[in-house]
């Protein structure tokens, strides 16, 4: 069954949090994972749920060769060596 707007955002947040440090998720990976569990979920809902998570600062886009969605964390390269 399709998730509500709020439940979808939480679902995605949990997915990103669980993957943190193990696997980098792209926006399309998130979409595919949601659709696997909730095949009737509207694709646009998923796009905008990601947007809300990013706009609210709970998730950030990162770039390591490709663009990923992650929980905000400290920039490795910014640390003094």
């Amino acid at each position: 069954m399709a998730l509500s707007k709020e439940a979808l955002a939480e679902y995605i947040y949990d997915m990103v949090a669980k993957a943190q440090g193990k696997k980098n998720l792209k926006a399309m990976d998130v979409q595919k994972a949601v659709l696997k569990e909730h095949p009737d979920q509207n694709k646009n809902d998923i796009k905008f749920a990601i947007k809300d998570l990013i706009d609210g600062g709970r998730c950030v886009y990162t770039y390591f060769g490709g663009s990923y969605i992650e929980i905000p964390h400290e920039e490795g390269a910014a640390k003094k060596v």
Binding site: M28, G57, V60, Y61, Y63, G66, S67, E75, A77, A78
Partner: protein, 412 residues
């Protein structure tokens, strides 16, 4: 200021030197002074002292800021952070001097004062600032009506040639398409959700001044469908030396119409008997050679639009590719719905099927043109066949047999 004997040599040649420019900025900006010091150090050590960042950005955007740090922050504190800000270009790179001054003022206040007009994306590149300066810089830019451009696995800022603003050959309004595409794909530009980058470049004619065919995933190149317009009197004037070839932009005083124009037509579709120039337009491949040489005698036709080509990219996973014709002719009229819809279909097909960091041109080759056309909902036109005489096989789809049985016609 750091001592830079190696860099100083670069000032000695006959060409304008970026070292000279940087020294001028370094006199008033610490980051520029340390940038010179760090570069000198790299020349000595023969290794880069830059590290890529992957997180910095402005709130809500996954694009437009590229994080950079030095691995020698103690020695060169001015470049401890040295992030790049991409400022979305205006169509055709037309700025008023007022706008340029405003941009420079913002960058003087919030960054190193070093900028690149323009980067290869076409965006104006602000080079070098620190993480705390990013949001204030972005706020100042947006207050003046600017926005960040694309970066990462996103739609990149579309770019175009000057088109109808300055060029009589433009077969559609490149600046308008570029602007409308930029507006239409805002979500895709700022929120990277593709397998990798995707670029749109718009040239008004096959001279392709923005090199769309080699530098854009989606190359939009202006073209005409009807006949080249010929002014026979002007052809004679070129033949007689009254008109200079290429508007005077060659070292030659007089054009030899037979040798320079007709004999160099790649499809040998022209003929000149000393008086009248003839073109077999069915065989013209729109290379622009003759028109570029005799602009006062020859002009593109009046039924104009664009050819869409897909897939060029620099070597990343596969070797470099040029874009490939996917739509031989499309009318280019505002609001460009067929174009926007096609780009959306293509990016969706690619996002569904592409591997991480696989450009759309690589995917097209991996899965084949047959899968591509089906996936994006295009009819396969014969113009897409690269080497027809060495490519005798076509694998039919199941529904083709049904269409055959129903009496499908091939010539419309």
């Amino acid at each position: 200021m750091h001592k830079t004997p190696l860099l100083d040599q670069l000032e000695s040649g006959p060409w304008p030197s970026f070292i000279k420019d940087l020294k001028r900025v370094a006199a008033r900006k610490k980051p520029a002074a340390d940038l010179l010091g760090l570069l000198e150090r790299s020349y000595k050590d023969k290794i880069t002292h830059w590290k890529h960042g992957g997180i910095v950005g402005v709130l809500g955007y996954g694009s437009g800021i590229i994080g950079r740090y030095t691995d020698l922050p103690e020695e060169f504190p001015g470049v401890e952070h040295f992030h790049t800000v991409r400022v979305n270009q205006p169509s055709g790179w037309f700025y008023t001097t007022k706008a340029l001054r405003e941009l420079c003022d913002i960058w003087d206040e919030h960054g190193s004062s070093i900028l690149n007009v323009h980067g290869s994306t076409g965006d104006m590149i602000f080079l070098g600032t620190t993480t705390p300066e990013l949001e204030p810089c972005f706020a100042k830019l947006t207050a003046k009506g600017w926005d960040l451009g694309g970066s990462g696995s996103a739609m990149r800022s579309p770019s175009c040639c000057v088109g109808m603003a300055r060029c009589e050959w433009s077969c559609y309004d490149t600046m308008d398409l570029c602007y409308e595409a930029t507006q239409n794909f805002q979500f895709e530009m700022h929120r990277p959700s593709f397998p990798y980058k995707f670029k749109i470049k718009c040239s008004g004619c096959p001279n392709d001044c923005v090199a769309a065919v080699a530098r854009a995933d989606m190359s939009v190149i202006g073209v005409w469908k009807d006949d080249i317009r010929i002014d026979q009197a002007a052809v004679k004037a070129y033949a007689g030396g009254e008109l200079k070839p290429r508007g005077g932009a060659t070292p030659y005083a007089k054009l030899d119409v037979q040798a320079d124009v007709v004999a160099l037509c790649p499809t040998a579709c022209m003929a000149f008997d000393g008086k009248t120039l003839k073109i077999d337009n069915k065989n013209c491949n729109h290379c622009m050679h003759c028109i570029s040489l005799m602009p006062q005698a020859l002009r593109p036709g009046t039924e104009t639009g664009a050819t869409l080509l897909l897939g060029s990219h620099a070597p990343i996973l596969e070797g470099a590719q040029m874009s490939w014709v996917i739509v031989p002719f499309m009318e280019m009229e505002t609001p460009y719905e067929p174009f926007m819809d096609l780009v959306a279909n293509i990016t969706e097909w690619w996002s569904e099927n592409g591997k991480n960091r696989e450009r759309v041109g690589e995917l097209m080759l991996r899965l084949g043109m047959r899968a591509f056309f089906k996936g994006v909902g295009l009819e396969p036109p014969p113009q897409t066949v690269k080497t027809p005489r060495a490519n005798p096989f076509f694998f039919w789809h199941e529904e083709d047999f049904e269409a055959e049985a129903a009496g499908r016609k091939y010539i419309k």
